[in-house]
């Protein structure tokens, strides 16, 4: 097809890179033009991502060193956080647009950048990055450089946005997040016998998604939450769930809250509010989202206590799918092109 856009994936041998490939293999308007990997350079895609090896489109594909990057319309950055900044000039030269999935250019406050993303502080970008969440950003960014949100960050943002956008809650919020083992990427290692049957703390204070959430809520709603954010590790390969605890302001009713969520996400195919959940499986849950690009959101109010829950697949709605959704929107494609809307369960 003459009108396919040419796409590159930097860090294509990693987990998020693999998902970008997987989804784009069936995207009608995309040509996978370049896939980078250093240690796996020269290797066929299917040898690194066995789950892709039976797709006919994967047959000829091999990884190449990033230095050989060709001219492309869009480059997806799937490198470990801290890797892109020094390589951005290269990408900027050869890619019309860069969509970065890593955290490098999410924060704006220079102090926070220095603390959480020292490589970004050392190699600032020439042009500004837009921080883009398809459902919440007021416009589709025209910038050449776009940074997608963090996976646990965006799950939390979806959970909290309607509350702060409508000034329904006090500022103190506790967020308890749980994430599966692919969240650490292929690089992270743990003997599977030790992960199996475990549940453990990941980070109780100081996770770098904390300032991102604060910044995004402030940017999208004007309110600044007093946020507590702790993360835990699940023995599942995929999926994130966050439970966010807030307190309704006086005079706020459960119906106000419900309406706020409904309005925030109505017409958004990839953020879905679970209406009136009763049984446990009615709430957002991993098996209802894993394999899809959907984030599920629900709220449960009792008196002035509000609990908001989001579930999403960290590798899709938290990473590859979100980025492709962004690509679709900035390219004028159908927002849903190439994006799965059912979970692969049971």
């Amino acid at each position: 097809m003459a009108d396919k856009i040419r796409v590159a994936v930097a860090g294509a041998s990693g987990y998020t890179g693999g998902e970008v490939i997987r989804l784009l293999l069936d995207h009608p308007q995309v040509e996978l033009a370049f896939l980078s990997a250093e240690r796996s350079a020269g290797t066929p895609v299917g040898a690194v991502h066995p789950w892709l090896r039976n797709h006919p489109g994967a047959a000829g594909l091999k990884f190449r060193p990033l230095a050989e990057l060709e001219e492309v319309d869009v480059a997806f950055g799937c490198l470990p956080t801290g890797t892109l900044p020094a390589r951005l000039p290269l990408l900027a030269e050869r890619a019309k647009r860069v969509l970065n999935l890593a955290g490098d250019f999410r924060l704006r406050d220079p102090e926070e950048v220095k603390e959480f993303y020292p490589k970004s502080a050392a190699h600032p970008a020439d042009e500004e990055f837009a921080y883009y969440i398809p459902e919440l950003s007021p416009v589709v960014p025209e910038s050449r450089f776009i940074n997608l949100p963090g996976c646990m960050a965006v799950a939390t943002i979806y959970a909290l946005y309607p509350l702060f956008a409508n000034a329904l809650v006090e500022s103190q919020v506790v967020v308890d997040a749980k994430t599966g083992s692919s969240g650490g990427g292929r690089g992270s290692s743990e003997q599977p016998a030790e992960r199996a049957g475990n549940f453990r703390v990941h980070k109780l204070h100081g996770h770098r998604h904390t300032p991102e959430i604060r910044q995004a809520i402030a940017e999208f709603t004007g309110a600044v939450p007093e946020l507590r954010f702790s993360t835990h590790s699940l023995d599942v390969p995929r999926g994130i769930m966050v439970t966010a605890y807030s307190r309704l302001k006086p005079e706020t009713s459960a119906l106000d809250v419900k309406r706020a969520y409904a309005k925030a996400y109505v017409g958004k195919p990839f953020v879905r509010v679970r209406p009136a959940p009763k049984a446990p499986q009615d709430f957002p849950m991993l098996k209802a989202v894993n394999g899809s690009n959907v984030a599920e959101v629900a709220i449960a109010v009792k008196d002035d206590q509000c609990v908001s829950v989001t579930a999403l697949d960290n590798l899709i709605k938290g990473a590859a799918g979100q980025a492709i959704q962004a690509m679709n929107l900035i390219s004028g494609f159908d927002e849903s092109a190439g994006l799965p809307r059912t979970a692969v369960s049971p």
């Binding site: 956080t81 969240g183 650490g184 990427g185 992270s188 990941h202």
Partner: protein, 62 residues
Amino acid sequence: MTTAIETPKCLVCDTEFEVQADWEKGEIAECAACGQEHEVVEKTDATVRVELAPEVEEDWGE
């Protein structure tokens, strides 16, 4: 093994340390009762002083 000198106490749970003869300044000693790490900051024939050991959190991938 305990020496005759005044034995320091755990700064967290107040349990007395068993001072080891081979302790040196800078040594990290764990309280046997609560596990708290202490740093030996002074060690002479007459005195042993400990302080809470500094805590450094490890970094751990996302």
